[in-house]
């Protein structure tokens, strides 16, 4: 019964958010938030945010600690469901349907919106099994096909050359940077449309950071990427659009060059020039 009641995202019918689609300005938005709020109990963590991720572009979300940027990102694939006291209001639309629709199939949503976490979190399994985990979930799959997916994913994550000889060794034996790229490869293996990255470089050294940034650059175009970062230089380097959150509110959202060179708001200016944060 449960399964039948679950609505596939592809059956857009009941989910269509009728009258007022977000302003498109001739652009193709994959994810769009409209007056989206998140509460932890009584705490209003994200206040009426209006942010959109354009297809094939990189959107950076910046802001000081505790401003709600990670909370917002984790809502996009409903990872915040793990927090009992968390509830939302407003609309968060993915591919034309509301992510928080009660009958939405979360598993399918998460398969289409992949996520890379702050700390590398490979499973304590072999490198191969880590990558194969997602595809195997989708159902039985031929070994040759799986091998292909593993190789493609690792190549896309620029890790193939480093690990091709030891696919069966434990993933926990990799360095921190390699582990994070493995996590990216693992997320790519399920062929998501959107890739959410929650401060993916904060636990890494500068060299690994620059490799991940290169990787993000390569992946953009093919994937829609949203990246939360503390590092303003990083946001400036990798993203096309930047959203600035402050104390739960979206202060400013726009093209990255514009936001960093001529911010519209005083708070944005103060933050990017290092007055606080």
């Amino acid at each position: 019964m449960m399964e039948k009641n679950k609505m596939k995202i592809s059956e857009k019918t009941a989910f269509k958010t009728d009258d007022k689609d977000p302003p498109k300005n001739g652009k193709d938005y994959v994810v769009a938030a409209r007056d989206f709020s998140v509460y932890y109990g009584n705490f209003h963590a994200v206040k009426n945010a209006n942010v959109s991720f354009e297809r094939g572009k990189v959107t950076a979300i910046i802001g000081p600690s505790g401003c709600g940027k990670s909370t917002f990102l984790r809502c996009v694939n409903r990872m915040n469901d793990l927090v009992d006291s968390c509830r939302t209001s407003g609309e968060l639309i993915f591919d034309g349907i509301n992510i928080y629709h009660p009958r939405l199939d979360i598993v399918e949503l998460r398969r289409r919106i992949g996520m890379v976490f702050q700390r590398p979190n490979p499973f304590p399994k072999s490198i191969y099994d880590n990558i194969a985990y997602g595809p195997r979930l989708a159902g039985s799959i031929k070994k040759s096909e799986l091998d292909g997916i593993v190789e493609t994913s690792l190549r896309r994550a620029a890790l193939w050359d480093e690990v091709k000889d030891r696919l069966n060794s434990n993933a926990l034996g990799l360095s921190g940077g390699q582990q994070q790229r493995l996590c990216i490869a693992r997320a790519l293996a399920v062929r998501p449309e959107v890739l959410l990255m929650d401060e993916p470089c904060s636990a890494l050294d500068p060299k690994s950071t620059s490799r991940i940034e290169d990787l993000i650059d390569e992946l953009s175009g093919e994937y829609t990427i949203a990246i939360v970062t503390h590092n303003m230089q990083q946001a400036a380097r990798v993203s096309h659009y930047t959203a600035f959150f402050y104390e739960g509110s979206l202060i400013e959202f726009g093209k990255t060059e514009t936001l960093f060179t001529s911010p519209q708001k005083q708070a944005t200016n103060d933050y990017i020039t290092g007055r606080f944060g």
């Binding site: 990872m79 997602g134 693992r186 997320a187």
Partner: protein, 570 residues
């Protein structure tokens, strides 16, 4: 606080902790050392030829050099048995029987020849004078006979042969009254006597030698009882002297002598060098007293036997070091005096593994529920409280529960069975397993859950494929340590599974049969066993085995955890 004060405090604290650690180690050593030493003594010990004899005859295992040993010990025992046979020989005094009978006939004939004197004495008016006179006549008449039997008794007491002397005296006391009656009858025919006169004659001429006989006989019987006590001690030490004698015995412990050197020495000291003698105390009550046999048998052939045994004990028993691994794999024979502890080990194994098979799945499932599915609420906190309470219930209460609910109400088995015991033990260790598994699940980083969910795994799939494997080492550790606890628990199995004796069970019998098990049998053998002080080596051996099982389980737990952790961390 000043730096110097802080340093002093630091040092004194360190010192105290070292001291308490040292104390703990000392206690453990003091506690374990005797158990280990004595427990090893159950397997490695100085055996006697009787041990090998038991192995060969009952279990069909011939130890190396057994035949040679047997020959040597038989050769050493032969002189002793010969001495004993000579001592017990029944016709030592056969040649004296004629003499005694002749003396008796002579004494009785005096009755006739001195009839006139007797009648004269009976006619004396004064009753006291009359009695004295009659007695004097009887004394004179019987003295040769009494002298003969006293001489016989004294001779046998000094030179051995009390057994045959006692036989002769018994025969005499049986036949004497008849013979005396015949002689008296011929007296009555000669003269008409009053009833009083008749009874006076009968008393003095019959009971007079009878009491002398009885006195001598008592002396001899006492000596015989002492000798029998000595002989029993020898049989206990060496086993029955002949094969025919052995066949007649029912108990295995009577068929063989002492199998261990220390036991042999004890028996020699207590039952051969000392004997029990029945005596009357000042108030006339019978008491049994232990006396030194060398002192008691001084001057008799038994003294020679004792000194021979003292000299030749090692040859007779053939002491030698042996390793009896059968202690772990043999059934016990005759109240654990012989054989090993296999049924107890197997019973403990069944109970422990059974408890684990029942408790582990339940515990893990409950832990998964608590850790992954339960939403905080009144019901869950109630359930948690129940688990906590269960952990605090005394184990004897579990035992009673097993008896009253599982056996009497649910009737999982007719009476005690391994199944009922295993279920009871499972309930006992369930809280521990739940707690340990829950901790293990909680220690799995949340990032694993997020990663699995983020890749589109459902809840159960993420638990099954990522969280459980990561929590496995912790769970296994908890389960195996609980097994150790189940192996050592006594109270729950008293009511539900344990018997003090019984054979090793086959696997299909565990559902209906009770079993011996180490913890219960340790208690039973130390306190309620009929031969508790003779089977000390078995007691220690079982304690050591149990400790070894529990420690091994804990070691395995540590190793598994280390291995899996190493694998997880590459």
């Amino acid at each position: 606080m000043k730096t110097s004060t802080r340093k002093v405090l630091d040092k004194s604290f360190t010192l105290t902790s070292y001291a308490s650690l040292a104390l703990m180690c000392l206690v453990i050593v003091l506690f374990l050392a005797p158990i280990i030493v004595n427990g090893i003594g159950a397997v490695v010990f100085r055996a006697t030829v009787e041990h090998d004899k038991f192995l060969y005859e009952t279990l069909g295992r011939e130890s190396s050099g057994y035949r040679e040993e047997l020959e040597k010990s038989n050769a050493a025992r032969k002189p002793l048995y010969e001495m004993m046979a000579h001592f017990e020989k029944s016709d030592n005094y056969g040649h004296l029987v004629e003499k005694i009978n002749a003396a008796r006939a002579q004494c009785l004939s005096k009755l006739e020849s001195e009839a006139d004197i007797i009648f004269a004495a009976l006619d004396i008016e004064d009753s006291r004078e009359r009695l004295e006179k009659v007695r004097a006549i009887a004394d004179a008449a019987w003295s040769p006979y009494i002298n003969e039997i006293s001489a016989l008794a004294d001779d046998s007491l000094h030179n051995g042969g009390t057994l045959s002397a006692a036989e002769i005296l018994k025969k005499q006391s049986n036949s004497l009254p008849g013979a005396a009656k015949l002689a008296l009858n011929s007296l009555y025919e000669k003269k008409k006597l009053s009833f009083q006169q008749k009874s006076m004659l009968r008393r003095n001429f019959t009971s007079f030698p009878m009491s002398a006989l009885a006195q001598n006989l008592e002396k001899l019987e006492q000596a015989n009882a002492a000798y029998n006590s000595f002989k029993k001690g020898v049989a206990e030490l060496l086993g029955p002297s002949t094969a025919a004698e052995k066949e007649k015995l029912n108990l295995l412990r009577q068929k063989y002598g002492q199998p261990r050197e220390n036991l042999a020495r004890d028996v020699f000291e207590q039952s051969v060098l000392h004997i029990s003698v029945a005596e009357k105390d000042a108030e006339g009550r019978d008491v049994v007293r232990k006396v030194e046999s060398a002192e008691y048998f001084k001057g008799t052939p038994v003294e020679e036997m004792i000194s021979y045994m003292q000299k030749n004990m090692p040859q007779m028993m053939q002491y030698h070091w042996t390793v009896y691994l059968g202690f772990f794999f043999d059934n016990p024979y005759d109240s654990n005096i012989f054989g090993g502890i296999w049924p107890m080990i197997l019973g403990t194994f069944y109970l422990t593994v059974g408890a684990m098979l029942i408790a582990a799945p339940l515990g893990v499932i409950a832990a998964i529920y608590f850790s992954e599915y339960a939403k905080p609420g009144r019901l869950v906190s109630l359930l948690r409280m129940c688990v906590g309470t269960l952990a605090g219930v005394p184990s004897i209460v579990f035992g009673l529960f097993g008896l009253s609910f599982l056996i009497n109400t649910l009737r999982v088995s007719e009476s005690k069975s391994v199944l009922a015991g295993a279920i009871t033990l499972a309930l006992l260790i369930l809280p521990t397993i739940i707690k340990a598994s829950e901790e293990a699940l909680k220690s799995v980083p949340n990032s694993f859950r997020e990663a699995a969910l983020g890749l589109g795994a459902g809840k159960w799939k993420s638990i099954y494929s990522v969280i459980l494997p990561s929590a496995l080492p912790g769970m296994l550790t908890g389960i195996i340590i609980s097994m150790g606890r189940a192996a050592g628990e006594t109270a729950p199995i008293i009511f539900t599974a344990a018997t003090s004796t019984g054979a090793a069970l086959a696997v299909w019998e565990v559902f209906t049969q009770a079993t011996p098990a180490l913890p219960w049998n340790i208690y039973n053998m130390c306190s309620e066993h009929e031969m508790a002080d003779k089977v000390q080596h078995v007691q220690y051996g079982m304690v050591l085995t149990l400790i070894a099982i529990v420690l091994t389980l804990n070691m395995v737990a540590i190793l598994i955890r280390a291995k899996i952790q190493k694998k997880l961390k590459n």
